[in-house]
Symmetry: C2
Subunit: 321 residues, 2 copies
Amino acid sequence: MHQNQQKFAVLSGGVGGAKLVLGLAQILPARNLQVIANTGDDFDHLGLPVSPDIDTLIYTLAGLANPDTGWGRHDESWNFMAALSELGGADWFRLGDRDLAMHVRRRDLLAGGHSLSAATRELARGLGVQTAILPMSDAPVRTHIDTADGELGFQDYFVRLRAQPVAQAIRYRGADKANAATDALTALQRPGLTGIIISPSNPWLSIAPILAVTGIESALSDCPVPVTAVSPIVAGKAIKGPTAKLMQELGITAGVVGIAEYYKNIIDGLVIDTQDAEHRTTIERMGISVAMTDTIMNDLTDKTRLAEFVAGFTAELRAAS
Amino acid sequence: MHQNQQKFAVLSGGVGGAKLVLGLAQILPARNLQVIANTGDDFDHLGLPVSPDIDTLIYTLAGLANPDTGWGRHDESWNFMAALSELGGADWFRLGDRDLAMHVRRRDLLAGGHSLSAATRELARGLGVQTAILPMSDAPVRTHIDTADGELGFQDYFVRLRAQPVAQAIRYRGADKANAATDALTALQRPGLTGIIISPSNPWLSIAPILAVTGIESALSDCPVPVTAVSPIVAGKAIKGPTAKLMQELGITAGVVGIAEYYKNIIDGLVIDTQDAEHRTTIERMGISVAMTDTIMNDLTDKTRLAEFVAGFTAELRAAS
C-alpha cells in the first residue's frame, strides 16, 4: 500500500484533532506519524500537571477515550472525586480514578527530571501507544482569556466558570519565552516527510498556541513540503456552545473563510467540507489550494476515509510542487 | 452517666491504638476526648503527604476503616492503582481511589498554608469525625530504621522492603527540632483533665516518636493527672510478623515487662492482660500501678469495655493521688 511509505507530522489539539489522528494511525505505520500536541490548555490542578490535549490524543490512540465526553477515559469510576468532594476539595474539574493515575505519574516523571516530552513518551508507552505524541514545548505555555472579570486560565474560564465572563482577548502566556521541544521540531524537519497536516482542532484555541512557541512557525515556513489544514468548521456550525460564544465575543468569524484567512501565511492547502463549496473560490484567491470532501467524522470509517483523503491531497500538493 | 464528665487525652498510633480510641469515643462526648497522633510514619509519596496513623484514626472514628487490612477504607476501589501500575508508577504502597482523596486534599490544604493540625481538623470534619485528632507536631518527624543496607524511611523499610533488611536502630528524624503542636500540648494541659492514656500501639514505633518531640515528655511529667498505658502485648504474642522481627533484631524484649521498663518514668499505671498476671509484681516493683483485664479487642463491645476499664482505672488513680 502506497500510503505506508508516506510520513506525516500533524499539529493537533484535543477532541476534533484526535479524530483525524486516529484515522491517520489506521493508514500509516506508527513510525510514519508524529503528532505535535497543544499544551496551552495544560494546568496545574491539585498539585498535578494536567495535559488535556496530550491525554486525549493518548487515550484516543490507546482506544481508551470516552466518546461521550471528549475527555477522560471510558469505563471510568469516580470514587476519588466523590471522596474529594466530601472532603471539601475542588471538584469542578472532573478527574476519574483511572485518569488520575496519568497525572500522578506525569508529576512523578517530571519531578524525577523528565522533560514533558520524555514524560509523555513514557505515558504513551505505558498505554501501548506507538505513535509519537510530542508536546509542542517542554516549557510551560498557558492559554489565558482576558475577560471583563480579569485574566483567567483557560480551564478556569472554560470549565470552572463555563465561559460565562465576557471574553476580550486570548493570550498564550509564556509562548514568547518557550522554545519548541526538540522532538517536535525534529518531527517538522524529518527527512522524507510527505507533508505537515494541521488537524481539525480550533485554530485560535488549539493550534495558535502551537504556532506561538518559538521555532514552530519558522519550521513550517522553511519546510520543503506542503502544509495542509483541515477545517474544523462545517457551514459555520461545528463550533459548540461556549466556544462559539468565545469566538463571537472576540470578533472572530468562525467559518472556513475566517480559518483560511488565519492560516493563509502558513498553509498550502485547505480541506473544507462540501457544504462549504460556495467559499472555495474566495479561499483559492488567497493562494490556497482547496480540496472538498465530507469532513464530519462520526465513526472510525469516517476518520479513516478523511485521513486517506487528507494524506492523498497533501501528497498531490507535494508532487505538484 | 458519670464517665461523660471525664476528659481524656490519648497518645495513639494507628491500628491497635485506634481500637481503644474508638472504644473511648463510645463512652465519652466527643469534646471530652482528644487524641494526639503519631506522625512518625508519615511520608511523601507520589508528591502526596501521607499520614497513615492520622488517617487510620479518622477512618476508624468515621466508621470507614478497613478491618481486614488495618489501613485504608472499607468498600474501596483500586482503579487508580491499577492504572498507575500500568503506567509504570510505584505500586508498592497501596492507595485506594477514595483514600487517595485524603492525601490529595491534605496536600491542597498544606499548600494553601494550613498547618498539619489545621489540615487534619478539616479532613476529620469532612468525614464527620468530631473527636479531635491532633498531630503530635506540625513539623516533620520521620521514623527511620538503620539497617544493614543503610538508613531507610519507615514505609520504605516496612512496606516496600517488607522489613527484610536487618534492623540496627530506630531514629526519629527531625524530632529534636520539632516542637509539639500547640493543639497537642494544649490537650495535655487541659483544665479538668481526668488523665492521659497511652493507647495500645507499639511503644517503640508509634508512641516513642510522640514522646521524642520537644514538649510532650515534659508535659507528661508536669501534668497533675495520672498517665496510664495499655499494653499492646498479650503473653508476648500480640506483635505480628515483621514487627516481631524488628523488635528482636533491635534487642527489645517485647513483653509487658519490657513495656513497663520503657514507660516507667512516664506512666503511673499500666493495664495488662490477665494472661500476663505472672508479671504483675515485677511491674509493680517499678512503682507502676497495674490493672488486669482482657485487653484483646475483637469487636466494638470489647473496645467499649476496655475503654471503660481504662477510663475507670485512670480515674481511680487520680482519686487516690
